[in-house]
Symmetry: none
Subunit: 225 residues, 2 copies
DNA sequence: CGGTGTCCAGCGTACAGGTAA
DNA sequence: GTTACCTGTACGCTGGACACC
C-alpha cells in the first residue's frame, strides 16, 4: 500500500489522480465511471471509429472509448466489490438536523425533532435506528439460555459451514467471470484474437447460463433483495 | 496464552485468522468490525430475515448478521478496552522523512506509478511508452496469472472448471445436509445471550434489543440448483 | 511475542448538479 | 414542472499494517 506522489495524473483522462483505484492511478471520475459501467453491465458503443480522445475536457464525450481506455490502462475489474451493506451519512445528517433545528425554531410546527442527545457521548443513533429499535424487544428470552453451546450439532454445522464457504467461492468466481467476459470486449491489443475471444464467449453463453442462474437466484434471495 | 495453528480460519467469516481476538480465532476484518461496532454503539438492522450468510466474500453484505455471528461465535465484548493512550507512528514518520529526503533527486515525471519493476530496468517510462505498451504486456513477467494480464481462454476455462467442481461439491453437500436435517427434528439454535448482558451494553436499551433476538437456523433449503 | 488500539489507502454509497426528453 | 439518467465530489466502511503494552 503506497501513497501516490503529489500531482500524479489519471492514466485515463490526465486529470489529477485521487489515488490508486482498481490498480491504476486515476481520478475520482474515472474510478466511479469504471465501477458503474461494470456493476450496471453497461454496453456502450462508439459512434465513430473507436479512437476517440479521452481527456479531462472531453472524457464524457464517448463513454465507449472512455471505458475502453480504462481497460487498456490496466483497470482491474476483479477489484470491484459487490453488495456492501447500506451506510449512513452521519456528518451530513448532523448538519441537516442542525439546520432543520434552526428552521424549526422559526417555524414552530414542523416535524417533531428526534431525541437528539447530540452532546451526550454515546447516542449516535440515527433516524433509521430510532425507527428500527422498537421492534421485538427481548424476543430471545423466550428461547432462552437452554440452547447455550454454539456447537449443538456438529454435523449440521460442519456441513453448513462447508456449503457456505463453497457458495462464497462460487459467488466470487461468478464475479470474476463477469469481469473476464466484460474486459474481453475490450482487448488490450486490437487484433485478430479479439474475434476469437468474442466467438469463445458466445460459445460459453450456454455454459454460463447453466451456472449463473442458480447462483444469481441465490444472490437475489439472500443479498440483493 | 496460546498460539493458533497455521491456517486457522476465522470463526465468523472463514477467512484466514490472524490470531485470537476477543477470545476467538478471527481475522483482522472481523476483529476490527466487532470493536468498531461496540465502541461506536452502532445499531445495524438486517434487511432480510436475520439469517444472512456471513463468509469471506460476502461478509460486508449484512453488518447486522455479521455482528450477530460475532456474538454467537463467542466474541467477548469485555475484552474491548476503552480510553487507551494515543499512539505515535514513529516508524511511519521515519519512513516518510526518509522518502522525502530521497525525493529530492527523483522529482516526479508524471508517470503513473506501476509496480516496482525491479527486474525491469526502465524506470523512466514516458507517457508514450505507457500508452504503447499497457500493463497487460507485462503479464509474462508478472507472477499471478489470475491477478492481472490478458484474459485468455485458459483463464476462462480455469474459472469454469473451478465453478463446476464447486457446484458438484455443493450438490453432494446439500444431499448430505438433507439427511442430517431430517434426522434432527429441531434445527440448531445458538444464543448470544451470555455475551449480551455486559453491563456497559445495558446502558443503551435500544442497541441491546436489536441483537437480543433468537438465532435462526441456517436455511439453505431454498437454494434451487 | 500475542492481543490490544490506531491509522489510512482504497473500497463503497449518497448527494448535488447537470443534461435531456 | 416532471422524470430520468449520468457525472463527480464528499464522506462512511473495511481491513492490512503498525504502535503500544
Amino acid at each position: 500500500r503506497e501513497k501516490i506522489p503529489e500531482g500524479t495524473l489519471c492514466v485515463v483522462c490526465s486529470d489529477l489522480a485521487s489515488g490508486i483505484h482498481y490498480s491504476v492511478a486515476s481520478c475520482n471520475g474515472c474510478k466511479t465511471f469504471f465501477r458503474r459501467a461494470l456493476v450496471n453491465k453497461q454496453a456502450f458503443q462508439c459512434q465513430f471509429s473507436d479512437d476517440c480522445i479521452v481527456d479531462k475536457s472531453v472524457r464524457c464525450g464517448c463513454r465507449s472509448c472512455r471505458l475502453k481506455k480504462c481497460f487498456e490502462m490496466g483497470m482491474d475489474p476483479n477489484a470491484i466489490q459487490h453488495d456492501r451493506d447500506k451506510i449512513r451519512y452521519t456528518k451530513r445528517l448532523k448538519k441537516m438536523k442542525n439546520e432543520k433545528a434552526c428552521d424549526d425554531r422559526d417555524i414552530l410546527n414542523g416535524k417533531p425533532i428526534r431525541e437528539e442527545g447530540e452532546n451526550s457521548p454515546q447516542s449516535t443513533l440515527s433516524l433509521d435506528d430510532a425507527i428500527a429499535s422498537p421492534s421485538s424487544s427481548f424476543a430471545g428470552q423466550s428461547l432462552g439460555p437452554a440452547s447455550n453451546g454454539p456447537y449443538l450439532d456438529h454435523d449440521i454445522q460442519d456441513v453448513q459451514a462447508e456449503m457456505s464457504s463453497l457458495l462464497s467461492d462460487l459467488l466470487s468466481l461468478e464475479h470474476k467471470l463477469d469481469g473476464v467476459r466484460y474486459s474481453n470486449k475490450f482487448p488490450p491489443h486490437t487484433s485478430a484474437a479479439s474475434c476469437m475471444y468474442d466467438r469463445r464467449l458466445l460459445d460459453d453463453e450456454a455454459w454460463l447460463s447453466t451456472y449463473t442462474v442458480p447462483v444469481a437466484s441465490f444472490k437475489l434471495s439472500h443479498i440483493t433483495l
